[in-house]
Symmetry: C3
Subunit: 158 residues, 3 copies
Amino acid sequence: MPDNNKTSIVVFSGDMDKVFAGFLIATGAAASGMEVSMFFTFWGLKAIQKGSLTGKGLLGRMIGLMNRGGIERVGPSRFNFGGIGRWLFKKMMRDKNVVGLSELLETAIDLDVKLYACKMSMDVMEIAEEDLIDEVSGFMGVAGYIKEASESDVTLFI
Amino acid sequence: MPDNNKTSIVVFSGDMDKVFAGFLIATGAAASGMEVSMFFTFWGLKAIQKGSLTGKGLLGRMIGLMNRGGIERVGPSRFNFGGIGRWLFKKMMRDKNVVGLSELLETAIDLDVKLYACKMSMDVMEIAEEDLIDEVSGFMGVAGYIKEASESDVTLFI
Amino acid sequence: MPDNNKTSIVVFSGDMDKVFAGFLIATGAAASGMEVSMFFTFWGLKAIQKGSLTGKGLLGRMIGLMNRGGIERVGPSRFNFGGIGRWLFKKMMRDKNVVGLSELLETAIDLDVKLYACKMSMDVMEIAEEDLIDEVSGFMGVAGYIKEASESDVTLFI
């Protein structure tokens, strides 16, 4: 078992299956006793949004509408079929008693996985701090990520 | 040259070009004397499937049909054109004397690269142990992956 | 702050947002005093191409045409809408005073980030050395990458 290790994961993708893989690795690492930080950036921010519509300017509102956030709204990278894929995957996971994304997020929080939001992506996409779930551990720029990553044994970009 | 290093690669993608990159890095690392583990999960499982149709329930059979496995069946992430892309890339690689995916897989096995299949993805997608090639080194959950990754110097998610 | 650390990033993707993330992490790490190497392979080569048409054979010219290089030609992975997305994202980033891709590339060069091109991908895609920008630090095979990666604390595949 890892002794004093640290894992840092950049969650760039907003695809359900990739976000799922990210949380699975994060909770698995935390359960093994590692310190874990997740950095949500670009499309990945979806996973830690409350799900309200975001954006103030025209472009920001467009992005907010087309890419509405919330952990239950992310769709798979393949076979989405305009939203059916999300339902299909959820059903398959439920049928196999695999934990869902919302539960994985809760587990991550319970296991003290740090959830950081990328400040710059929030600015570009016009996502405000209050659009994110309350459990977010902090807002960070690239320097903060680099510090964490350079101290980590496992570094992943998802 | 790396002395006692270890590389662990999560192969999440089922795209030909990404799977190719994964095997290229894996065999390169093994050839440099590193211990290498590859973890095939979600779409990546395709690369170590025999190619038979999989799935028992309706949804599992649907996935098995639409996403039929086998290393020769994976298509590129861009310019697939309904299957022509796969042929085109194979032809370009052959023309340049670049080794193909099947040969890379064999090389990986010869170089003792460990090939692990993600048990949970197999369950969700209804892929049975006998659907995978015989050279699979084992079936693993996230805890097994974390153990390997935390001991690795190079950790990648592809 | 990291003391003697090294970061190595494989840039496999040719998507604007992912390339952007890659350069952001690279420049951030370099600014923190880390040594940084970026390995441009497959579609990622686009980011260090001059932008001239490439390819000699029929297939190579086809790829060169459909996937024309140059840092200003890469489009986002989502919402591209046949090129509008590239403009839209550029506009949003400009509006928020976020640095653009070309400037990030220049900053990376100024901060002495090493830019390596994957020789094999260049061969397969018929991209010649003179098709790449002059600031490329060298041409490398997988063995060269493995050497760098095995000495790095932060290893990412983008």
